[in-house]
Symmetry: C2
Subunit: 454 residues, 2 copies
């Protein structure tokens, strides 16, 4: 395990699962239950602080499914756990995912009971994926759904991801770069993530850089000489004093545009940004931009914007990176059909709609999203179908559009703009928030019929 | 990047950093600032919902520092970002971490301003580590600090990690297994994490397994035949009906101990566990244990325990895995000394105590933790010093004790038991919670002297 210097590799994914998945797998193998199952990945309720969820991560996850297999060392490791038969482990050696997957496009705003993806495969295969698929889609959807709120709050101003240091581990920070880009953030401070996903990487200096120098002037001068066009961090000692030093420096340097901006990271950002803007403008430096950071979230950004703070860009960190006000989505991966028959669950508060489904999105004449209709897969409807085939017989459907992050970002922006204002606003409307999800008559009837059979 | 099939590798760690770290690095290189710096990793305030933080992850992170280097492909990638000189990139090729690290043992309950670790190295080296070290120690400390509360609430009953599916990505779920083990959880459902860290792996069946069968009886029978001694999930349709089926099955099977337990995952767990216990006991099956899960956290566990629910083990998932009530620690990595001189920062609310430090823990005559004293590194004190050298000149100090998770777990249990009851209780006591951290006179005087010099 983790042979990769203490980090997991693509090969380890087969074991990034809950033990019960493998126990069930062996039981299906042993009893010869190879019927096709349908599993739906969806959530049952919006978190109280969200009016919509952005579906994210589903395209990346299916690429991993395509290559999923058990290596020899993994089979040995499973053997060491006990309870697995040698014949089963031999069978696992040839295990491949051979199923079909339908998914909504990445960046789609979705609502309760709407499948992000549906997996159809022999039950053992479909079951095995549960933990891994959930872990990855939950992460990216969670982060995108929080980040898009800062984009809405910033009303066109820039938003940059500074979350790496306090996001939940390396995977969260890396996949976050991807989810944030789809959600509309403009850049990331995360070098590895930015390089991997080809997202712009941004960053200049920390307070420690200023502190390490004998004084602020020396630090500014050193940095500017090496990085013409940089942003300077002005709040290490006294913010407005820092701004005055930047002005002095800008006046001394003959080249225009040498200092592109200042960053404020503490104190009353509204008042300080206004005072700083005044000082800069008085000095004729109206091209120097103001960048702020420090404990920001969508509500603080909205307050600064509404208060007329002359801020050009916001850096967001921990609050967004941990989705602090709502660090989880009630995402589930549930059996809805087995061997051609609809399945459901009657546990209190955990009802599952049976069958293969489609989501039809209905827009009004102004292009606003009006309502969604949840139907059985093959029903006709005048709306736009959201679920599309993305995997067939274990192979990703050959359509590179799926993986174009820029395209997902554009689509996301359009769909979010098309949400009603009541859904786009930051404060939650409680239970009634979100878009109405209507069930088709056929789906309702099927649900009742399946419930009766239990 | 991510050449490892879309997953990062040990080699990628050098780039798992914020761009500003690399920009500062080049500036230090360019201006010849090679003075030794001291950085302290600590938090400034307890989260409102925590009375203590368990320091976790610091031993694992230093193993990565030992091997940190820039590969050719990484240098090329940096070049593509622009702003980096060829000579600097050539210099990076030979970059190694050559510094010293002091750290508190993993599993130590810590309080505001107490360093989890202190790094001493040429400033460029020490600065580069910031983002990665914070990301990893924040994650494990966050998860351990939440998990230990469930262990306290369970009062000796078992607690098992089911968090994988909704933790924030793969790294969180994997490192979580390690942090949870130190914090005192008994097992994990996460196969890869359990195998890697040699933590017991647990799990039986999901609702989908029951649903896939024609009825509950058939599912129970199949599973039990393959896994004698298993736990059966009884709440898919009607919990007490499920319990009766288990009783029937247990009576039919001649071997004692064939069914080791039942699991309840929904409904009123207190009432259902009592009714289930009664049914089982009446049938003479008092050796069948009761396992519960479903949205549990420390408060719900405490309520069940206080209410006398006859539960043997608890499965905890998302609430613990996302540290839902407090998904972040205000962890910082701050410069406290450069080139032999103490450094601080005067930004509002962000004061940093200067210098190299030691934490002396003082116990009362009953072995309870009485107070901590934060001193300069070389001060004498009658307490137990917490910070120990763990890395010298870039090499991990040869003491395998550091990496024995079992030893960290034992140490953690003893230290947590030694906390005053007011700190161990689940509800927060507000600002006054935690152990008193006294500053030594010398540290106070040094702090004042450094502040005056700004």
């Amino acid at each position: 395990m983790f042979s990769n210097g203490g980090w997991m590799s693509q090969e380890d994914i087969a074991l990034l699962t809950d033990l019960y998945e493998l126990r069930m797998l062996q039981s299906y193998w042993e009893t010869g239950m190879h019927g096709r199952a349908v599993f739906s990945l969806h959530f049952r309720e919006l978190p109280p602080e969200r009016n919509f969820i952005l579906a994210c991560g589903q395209t990346e996850v299916i690429r991993h499914l395509e290559r999923l297999s058990f290596e020899e060392e993994h089979l040995k490791a499973l053997h060491s756990l006990g309870g697995f038969k040698d014949e089963f482990l031999t069978w696992l050696r040839d295990f491949r995912f051979t199923g079909d997957v339908h998914a909504v496009p990445e960046g789609t705003p979705i609502f309760p009971h709407e499948p992000i993806l549906e997996v159809e495969a022999p039950i053992a295969e479909a079951q095995l994926l549960e933990s891994f698929v959930m872990n990855q889609v939950h992460l990216q959807s969670l982060l995108a759904s929080k980040a898009v709120r800062t984009v809405l709050a910033a009303e066109g101003r820039g938003v940059v991801d500074f979350g790496l240091r306090r996001m939940h581990g390396a995977d969260a920070a890396l996949r976050g770069v991807r989810a944030y880009w789809i959600a509309g953030l403009d850049a990331t401070s995360n070098v590895l993530g930015g390089l991997h996903y080809q997202v712009p990487v941004a960053g200049t200096m920390a307070h420690s850089y200023i502190q390490a120098h004998q004084d602020e002037d020396a630090a500014f001068e050193h940095f500017l000489r090496l990085y013409p066009g940089t942003i300077l961090l002005v709040d290490t000692y006294d913010t407005l004093e820092g701004v005055r030093k930047v002005i002095e420096l800008a006046k001394r340097s003959s080249t225009e545009g040498l200092i592109s901006g200042i960053r404020l990271d503490s104190g009353d950002l509204s008042s300080l940004s206004k005072q700083a803007r005044l000082l800069l403008d008085e000095a004729g430096l109206d091209d120097i931009k103001i960048f702020v950071s420090g404990g920001l979230n969508e509500f603080k950004i909205a307050q600064l914007v509404e208060g007329g703070a002359p801020i050009d860009s916001f850096g967001v960190g921990t609050d967004v990176g941990c989705s602090k006000d709502s660090p989880m989505i009630d995402l589930v991966y549930k059996l809805t059909e087995y061997d051609g028959e609809g399945r459901t669950k009657a546990s209190p508060g955990k009802h599952i709609l049976p069958g293969r489904k489609q989501v039809y999105r209905h827009y009004d004449t102004d292009g606003r999203i009006d309502f969604d209709r949840l139907t059985l897969r093959d029903e006709a409807d005048s709306g736009t179908p959201l679920l599309q085939p993305v995997m067939k017989d274990g192979q990703v459907v050959d359509d590179m559009r799926l993986e174009r992050l820029d395209q997902a970002r554009d689509y996301c922006r359009r769909e979010v703009q098309a949400l009603p204002d009541s859904v786009k606003r930051l404060s939650s409307l409680g239970v009634s928030a979100g878009i109405e999800v209507r069930l088709s008559d056929k789906l309702k009837a099927f649900d009742e019929a399946v419930l009766k059979k239990i």
